[in-house]
Symmetry: C2
Subunit: 561 residues, 2 copies
């Protein structure tokens, strides 16, 4: 089969960009299982060119990225999502298995090609099964074109990705989640900072030979700074589960970017980062330069049993491995949601960089987030519908009218607002699974209210970071309790809302978003907690499918086509 079409399309895309210097950046990646020691514990990881996190993509705005990916897994397929890249004109390269493409077969080579049309901090990661948890992820850093500069200044630019790490394989975890009764893998063994953590190898449960505390792969990540200089630190999270608080001992951070958008600067001691979010903070190396400092990532929102992830903030010329003389910061109280809500509310678009949202919406959809049981299986649901994938990926099925495998019923636009008690364990007896989708009228304004509720455990409501593919959305507001459809919209921030692609829904709270359905394609919108999406916590939007160009045959090969 011809694996790639549409180069002509890209040529025409390139012609529309205003900068003649846009470049093509080519990457050749081999995806393969390897034994590694990210937290000193020997584990099979899915590496790219031998590395986890994989190689960073570093580009300038308007560049074209070409990734030629060879799947060298023995029996497993793969797909990679370019998280935060809107894929305007290339919806087939969003990398979401089951939504925009078939998986890349074991042994096959697949070429992704897309334009990074905005500066900022983005991510890439597996979007198939639960492979992201196996270490298949990395960062995308898009800088401004030559001659342009950010509205803030810094001397150096650094990136870290935070992650949580499990010693059980993704297959083991997924099998547990699908079992009756449901088996939960438990809290992560480690928090990784830029792929490095530290498990206690001398714990009694460790099999001999399976943990090596002296392996250089698990020596702490070192961020070396020159005294007096200002650092732009790009901090993102791809945790499977954990919400994190990141801080650098004794140093303030000024938040300047969120998900690729300029933030009206504000200063914090610690930053809360949810899975799928990216931030840039400015840090001045203005403390006593005779010592090193701890950088620490602590779990919040769950009663943490996982030790904090630690890195070393190293003042040059101190030895980079020299331990700071202090006890690492323990992080905020795990169960105090107030500072997390406060940070959410503090993130606003920067003056001079405000993209004003439409004043009114064309459609409002409320998504009640619940945990429930469907046919004996533990699931997560949206308005009591638990997402499942169709046999043929939506993009192909919808574009080619192969609809008989898709539930054509309209999924619900809301829930029983009046009677549903979000504070108690609900019966949710009518919960069901479906692959039905939300079809949005093209070029309209859509509001989404994410409404949190109690889980199946008493007095428990989790934090869910929701991620939208193919778009950024305005974050109009956050609130506690049940969203009030009449009064809460009056409090929306329509003046300077930040645009993001990932946003948390706080425990027992709601989050209101607005976006324009202006990107022809089929787009997933889901909780970024790997297990939650696997258990059905997501929806799919279609918009302007008739405007989607000819699909490359390379995305096909499963289901019908």
């Amino acid at each position: 089969m011809i694996r790639f079409l549409g180069l002509c399309l890209f040529v025409s895309l390139l012609c529309t960009v205003p900068f003649a210097e846009a470049r093509i950046r080519r990457y050749k990646w081999e995806v393969k299982y390897e034994y590694q020691y990210p937290d000193c514990y020997k584990k099979l990881v899915i590496a790219i060119n031998g590395r986890t996190p994989g190689p960073s993509i570093v580009a300038q705005q308007y560049d074209t990225i070409i990734v030629e990916l060879t799947n060298s897994l023995l029996t497993e397929n793969v797909a990679i999502h370019w998280h935060g890249i809107r894929q305007k004109g290339t919806p087939w390269f969003d990398g979401t298995e089951g939504v925009t493409q078939c998986p890349i077969l074991a042994g096959d080579t697949f070429t992704y090609q897309f334009v990074v049309d905005r500066p900022g901090t983005y991510l890439y990661h597996a979007h198939y099964g639960m492979q992201r948890e196996a270490g298949l992820y990395g960062s995308i850093r898009v800088s401004l074109p030559d001659g342009e500069s950010e509205p803030y200044s810094y001397d150096y630019d650094r990136s870290i990705i935070l992650n949580d790490w499990y010693h059980k394989s993704a297959s083991e975890q997924a099998t547990g989640l699908s079992s009756i009764p449901f088996v939960w893998v438990g809290e992560p063994q480690s928090i990784l900072i830029q792929g490095r953590g530290r498990f206690n190898c001398s714990s009694p449960s460790v099999e001999s030979g399976s943990c090596n505390a002296t392996n250089p792969e698990c020596s702490p990540y070192v961020l070396t700074v020159v005294p007096g200089k200002t650092y732009r630190l790009r901090i993102s999270s791809l945790t499977a589960l954990s919400a994190l608080s990141f801080e650098i001992e004794g140093h303030n951070m000024t938040v300047v970017e969120a998900d690729g958008h300029n933030v009206e600067p504000f200063v914090i001691k610690n930053i809360f980062v949810y899975s799928g979010e990216t931030y840039s903070v400015l840090i001045i190396a203005d403390q006593d330069p005779s010592r090193n400092y701890w950088a620490s990532a602590a779990v919040v929102g769950r009663n943490r049993t996982t030790p904090n992830g630690l890195a070393i903030f190293n003042y040059y010329p101190n030895h980079p491995r020299r331990s700071p003389p202090t006890v690492p910061p323990s992080g905020p109280n795990w169960n105090d949601a107030n500072p997390r809500m406060a940070q959410s509310l503090a993130i606003r678009a920067r003056q001079g960089f405000i993209d004003t949202p439409p004043n009114i919406t064309d459609r409002m959809i409320v998504f009640l987030n619940t945990q429930n049981e469907v046919n004996g299986h533990r699931r997560w649901s949206v308005n009591n519908v638990s997402f499942e994938f169709p046999h043929t990926p939506y993009l192909t099925a919808l574009k080619k009218n192969l609809l008989h495998g898709i539930d054509l019923n309209h999924p619900p636009n809301g829930y029983d607002f009046v009677n549903y008690d979000i504070y108690s364990v609900a019966d949710n007896a009518n919960a069901t699974t479906s692959n039905s989708i939300y079809r949005l009228q093209f070029n309209t304004t859509v509001d989404i209210i994410l409404q949190n509720a109690n889980t199946m455990n008493k007095n428990d409501s989790e934090t869910h970071p929701w991620h939208l593919h193919g778009h950024d959305f305005w974050v109009l507001g956050y609130g506690k309790g049940k969203f009030d459809m009449f009064n809460d919209p009056k409090k929306y921030n329509l003046v300077n809302p930040i645009m993001k692609n990932t946003v948390p829904v706080h425990p027992y709270g709601w989050t209101a978003l607005r976006f324009r359905s202006d990107n022809p394609g089929v787009w997933a919108f889901h909780c970024h907690i790997e297990a939650h999406f696997h258990m059905g916590m997501g929806v799919v939007f279609e918009e302007g499918i008739e405007k989607v160009g000819q699909l490359p045959t390379s995305i096909m090969g499963c289901g019908e086509s």
Copy 2:
């Protein structure tokens, strides 16, 4: 895509069979990861309809088997080989990934359909990556048509499959094998009899919660017998590695069938079974009926560290769980190859059921079996060529003339017979990897001499059970040392050689086979040790490709087509 064609072809096949009562037997299988406790240790297995071994296929000669297989693995593909079924007229349903079909995608349903045209004992198992080791296997039992009977009599018919079992996953093992330096998983943790073994849960290396000695899944297999009755016991092996000796304490066994062929009966105390072989033995329940007896499977050919696999030979009405009062048989000396060679030589075709081989051959190929290093990787090779798969499965590539991905050089017909020292560690500096194949003239007689040699360790030569797809072969002879092309053929048994599909090559020995290239298709011939084939110990034969009918599109979808 249309997933199945060729029903018309089957209809015509059915018309040629002499028995009008041939039936269609349909199976619906779901292949899925599950946690199970085959040897009391909790492990992710690949189960069929929740079971490992999977459901038995029980049919009569000339029946058509239809297996509708749904792959419910999350990210892994699958393929199933019907071991011993020659697939006359249906070479595309042999189930050998990379040779006769693309893998069945995660989420897909694939239908195998073939005729079981001979009575006997056969197997099925995964033939993709190293998935067989994950528990994806089962038995096929084909009886004679109604009114016909075997040339021996028995009261009851029972089947067991022997296997070895590893606590590390197939992915972990395969990753180790492909690493530089090569990492060997080590000896199996357990020997399973019909899917049941017994690991020592109280061993200190066992993580708490991962082993349950009281789980009923690992209670020993019980073979209940009525005193005085005669049992046909079908014994087969699908070990990943181990050659086994099986015996039932105090009971003789009369060998009557091997790989679907009647054997001139002979009596033994213990039977050696190599991976891929099937036997039927007759056992008379003629011992003291007041007690139970041990059935025991012991590793031979390797310095065994794995405890013997045990089952209970239960005399009714003793309690089936009552332990025999004796110490289980320890099995023969692991390093005495003489009785193994003696058994090989004892297996002859039964009088009255002799299929006489052609007296002379049209082509002779010698396959030197060596272990070597290619580009830093530990490999197994045949005539210094280590097998690797092409991107497009051979059957599709050859039938459709998509040959540019296949090495069209002729692989070697032999090795340096004069100078090669099979008793020492060889340099094998010219060893290479290739996907070249042996193209056989259709309807000719082909002799294969499998020549064993020293491994990369001093004074070490392993046993390799070679399995041929699509054919049975005559076993013309076995010998010690280097095959003598002038004198050894004179000693061939051309009178009553057994026909088999799997045959051992003994340490430092040779085995001579003859077959007719009369089955249009593309057929693998390989060492049945899972790791050895994975490391290149195999070849592929093509014969009469032009006579192969139209390929079903369901076997395509990877590489080119």
